[in-house]
Symmetry: C2
Subunit: 581 residues, 2 copies
Amino acid sequence: MALVRLTPICLLTYLCCFGALTSSVLGAKARHFKWEVKYMYGAPDCLENVVMGINDQFPGPTIKARAGDTVVVHLTNKLHTEGVVIHWHGIRQLGTPWADGTASISQCAINPEETFVYRFKVDKAGTYFYHGHYGMQRSAGLYGLLIVDVEEGKKEPFQYDGEFNLLLSDWWHKGVHEQELDLSVKPMRWIGEPQSLLINGRGQYNCTLASAHNSNGSGLPGCKFRGTERCAPNILHVMPNKTYRLRVASTTALASLNLAIGNHKMLMVEADGNYLEPFWVNDFDIYSGETYSVLIRTDQNPTDNYWISVGVRGRQPATPQALAILHYQSTTASKLPTLAPPVTPRWNDYNHSKSFSNQIRALAGSPTPPVINHRRIFLLNTQNRIDGYTKWAINNVSLSLPPTPYLGAIKHGLRNAFDQKSPPDTFEKTYDITRPPSNPNSTYGNGVYMLKFNSYIDVILQNANALNANVSEIHPWHLHGHDFWVLGYGEGMFSTKDEGMFNLKNPPLRNTAVVFPYGWTALRFVADNPGVWAFHCHIEPHLHMGMGVVFAEGVHLVGNIPNEALSCGLTGKMLMNKTYH
Amino acid sequence: MALVRLTPICLLTYLCCFGALTSSVLGAKARHFKWEVKYMYGAPDCLENVVMGINDQFPGPTIKARAGDTVVVHLTNKLHTEGVVIHWHGIRQLGTPWADGTASISQCAINPEETFVYRFKVDKAGTYFYHGHYGMQRSAGLYGLLIVDVEEGKKEPFQYDGEFNLLLSDWWHKGVHEQELDLSVKPMRWIGEPQSLLINGRGQYNCTLASAHNSNGSGLPGCKFRGTERCAPNILHVMPNKTYRLRVASTTALASLNLAIGNHKMLMVEADGNYLEPFWVNDFDIYSGETYSVLIRTDQNPTDNYWISVGVRGRQPATPQALAILHYQSTTASKLPTLAPPVTPRWNDYNHSKSFSNQIRALAGSPTPPVINHRRIFLLNTQNRIDGYTKWAINNVSLSLPPTPYLGAIKHGLRNAFDQKSPPDTFEKTYDITRPPSNPNSTYGNGVYMLKFNSYIDVILQNANALNANVSEIHPWHLHGHDFWVLGYGEGMFSTKDEGMFNLKNPPLRNTAVVFPYGWTALRFVADNPGVWAFHCHIEPHLHMGMGVVFAEGVHLVGNIPNEALSCGLTGKMLMNKTYH
C-alpha cells in the first residue's frame, strides 16, 4: 500500500480560495464566502454514492476566522427541488438569531436557485462546525468545520507547534430521502448502524487499513490504495518532539465515538469552544454535536508511525473503526504503524464514559454559573408510538415543526403559527424510567418554552427506557444560541437531593451534553440571547422523530429580521398582505 | 395464477371519498379535494420502491368531473424538504393561469407543510391527467387521471356502454434524485431505459404474465400472483357484445408507447380532450403527454380472454411489454388469454407511426385554424454540450428556469427576474440537421417569447441529429394553456414549400404533438389565453436538460394572482418590501 501525502492541512488552505478578507476596525475582518450547495457523486467510504456538497467539495470547505471577525456566507441553493439551510453549530448568533440556520425556527428554508446571506460574528475562539438543519440533510453530508482562532496578538492558554482538524461523521449507503421515509412509515424501519465511520469525509468500506493486525477481528481484507483515492486515509504529518493540537468535531448522525492514538496520551484543553482545565486521557468519547481540542506530544519512537482509531460507543457496534495515520516525518508516510490500532472501549462500558465526562472541568477563571435558578424545566426523554408511528417525545410531546419559523412568528405575534400552549415543564414523578412506557401514547406538538429574558434556567434531562425492554439510549442534547454549564450527571431518576452533587464551582461550558442511559444530566444557562432556539437530541433520526423542544427569550429585543428569512408560511403571508393578522 | 377482480373502476369510485360536491348555477359544481403529497413505499412493478403518492395512493386519485365544473384541490406538501406543484395537463386554465402548476412559470413551489389551493374550471369534456412539474417529480410517481365528462344532459358524439381508464407510465428502480444528479453531472450519465412499463401504476418486473407465449422472446418466468399484490395486473371486466370506451393517457418519463388488444380493433374517437373523426386501428402509438379515447366492441369469442399489450416505440426497447387483461365476464378472470399478446411494432418502424399520426383528423364541425399566421417561430431541437454538460437546446438556448415565476415577474414588471432578451425566432437555415452539431456549443437562457395577444402563432418544430451520429430522437412537445392545431408532419428540413401540405381543413386540436426523427412538425395556435405558458418536450429528462421554451401573452389582462403563488424569488421580495423595483 502506497500512501501519498493527503493532509487535513490541504483542506484548510484550500479554503482560502473562497475567502476574501475585508479589513475592519480593531483588526477584526469580514470574511466572505460564496457557496453553492448541490448533490454530487462522492465516495466517502470508497463506494460511490450521492453526497451533498458545497462548491463541489465534501465535506464542505473549512472556514478559518479569528475571534471578533464577521463571517459572511452567501449560500446559494443549487438543489433541484429541496430547500436548504446551514446551522453554525456552537456560534451563539448574538444579535443575529435569524442567521442560526434552523429551518422552521430561525428562518425559512432557502428555495432552489435562491441565495441567503448568513452574516454573523464569531465572537469566541474555538472549534466549531456547520451543518444542514433541514430534514436529514446533515446525514446527506452537508457539513464542514468552522475554526475560530484567538484574536490577533492574543494567546491561547496553551501552546502548540501545529494543528490538525478531524471532522468525524458516520455514513450510510442508503440515501437520506429513503432514510427519512423509513423513519416515517408505520411500522418504522430503523436505519440501522452506519456502514462506515468517516474522518474528514474519508472512510473505508469492506476493507481495512490495518489488515496486518487482527485487533478488531474484522476479518476484512486490506485496502489497496494508490493514495489518490478520494477515500484514502487521512495522514497527519508530524515532526518528532513537537506539540500538536488536534481539533476534533463529531457531526455523526447516530454514532457516539471514541478516539485514541497508539502510544500517545492526549491532553484535553477545549470543548465546544470553551477552555478546559487540562487533563490527560488515553482515549476520549465524543458525542454528536461535540468538539474537543487535544494536545499531543510527538515523543514516541520517530521511526514508527501510529494509528489514530475511532470506534463506536453506546450502541452495539456494527461498523468497523475508522483509522488515520499519525506520520512521523522521519519515516515514510507509506509505512504502516507497527503497533495495532488502539482498541475502542467496549461499547457498553458506560463507566468509562461517565468517568471521562466527570473529569471535564472549566479552566480556572472561566465564567461560573449563577448559584440559583429562576426556573427548572424537567425534560423526560421517551420513545413513544403515536397512531402506530414510532416517535421520540419530550414530556410526552413529539416535536413536529411548523411551516412558519418561530422567530418571525413570535416577533410579529402570529398566534396561529404554532401551539400557543406551552409544553409542560415537568412530568409525572411516578413515571417508571426503568420500564418501557406503560402508556406509550404521546402527542405531536410545536409549542414553545417562553423563557423570561435574562432569567437563569435549569434543565434536567431525564433519560428513560425506550419501547423495548432493557434499552435506554444515549442522547447528546445540543442547545442553539447559548453555552450552558453542565452541573452534573446522575443515575436513575433525578431527585431534589441530587442538587447537592451539582458542580457550581467549575462546571464546563458546553453547547452539547450527553444524557446517559437511565440517567439524568443537569444544565444551567442564562436566557440572555434574544431569539428562538432549538434544543434537541443531536442524533439526526431522533430529531427527525420529534426529539427536541424550542426555547424563546427576549424576542421583542430582536432587531430587524431580514425578509428573506420570513418569506414562507404565515410570516410570508403577513408581509405580502399587510392586512393579515 | 389466480387473478382477482382488480378493476380500474375501483380506482375511479374510490376517488369519490375525497370529493365533496358543491352545487352551483347551471348544474356545474365545485368539486373539492383535499390532497397530501408524500413519499411512500410502493411496489409499482412488484419490487418495493419509493414512490410519490397522494393521500397514500399511487397513482394519485382519479378526478372525475363534468365540463363546466370547478375543481378545487387543496394540496398540502407533506414532503420533508422538497417543494411541490401539480400541473393539470390539458386544462387550459382560462382565467386562472396561476393554477397551471408549473414551478418557475406559473407559481412558486409549495413549501413543505404548506397548502396551495388549485381552483380551476374544467371547461371541456375529455381525458386529461395531472402530474408533478418540478424537478423530476413526475418520474417519481406524482401523477393521476383527470376525467371530464360532458355536461349533464349533453351527449358525446359517440356511444358506449362502459368505460375504463388506462394510465400508462414507465418506471425506474433508481430514485429520481439520483436520476436528476446523473443527468446533471459531467460527463452526463444517461438514466437508461425504464425497468418496467406500468398500466395504472402496475407492472411486473422480472416475470411475465404471458409465460405461456413466447411471442416477446423475453424468456422471463411466469409471474406468480395471488391477485392481491399491489402489482397484480389490471383486469378489464367486460360483457360480450357491448361497446367500451378506453381512456388512455401516457405520463411516461421517456418511453413512447404502442397499445394493442388481441383480436380487437379500436376506434379512435378523442385525443387530448378533442374529438376525432373516428378511424379504426389495430394498434396505436401514444407519446408522453398524450391522451386518447378508443372504442372497442366486445364481439370476440366470449369464452376467451384477451391481452392488452403496451410496448416501447422509438427507442431500442430494453423494457418488456406491459400487459393487462380484457376479461369477458362469461369466463373467469383467472383464465389467461389463449392467444399470445399482440406484438408491438418494431421500435424504429417510423412509417407505422407516421401513418397513424397522419390519420388523425378533427371531428367534422370542430374549430378550424385561422388560415394565416401573424408570427412563425422555428424551433430547432438539438442535443448540445455546455461546458461539457450534456443539454438539450432550442435554437441553441437550453432553458434554465429562474427562481422567480415568470407569471408574477412579467405582471409586476420585474425585469431582473429573467433574460429580457427574447430568444431567437429562428435558426440558421444552413444548419445541417442530418449530422451531429458541428458547433455543439449552446448557452443557458431563460428568456421568454412574448406573443402578441390574440395573434396567430405558428411553431415549426425542427428535429435534428443528436450528439451521436445517426441518432435523432422522438420528442413529444406539450403546450400549456392552449390546444394547437397540428397542421402537418414532414421529413427533413422544413421549407416554405411545405406549407402547401398543411392541413387547414380538419387538423386535430391537441396539446401535445410528436416530432419525428429528422423531421418537422407544424403547429398553429391563437395566443388568446392571458398568462405565461411552458412549451416543452414532455420527456422528463429532456425537459430537465433544458428542452423547452416559455411563451407569454396578454399578461396585463391576468387577474389578481394569489400571493401564495408569488412568495418566492423577486416577486416575494417585491411583495414583502414595497420599495423593491
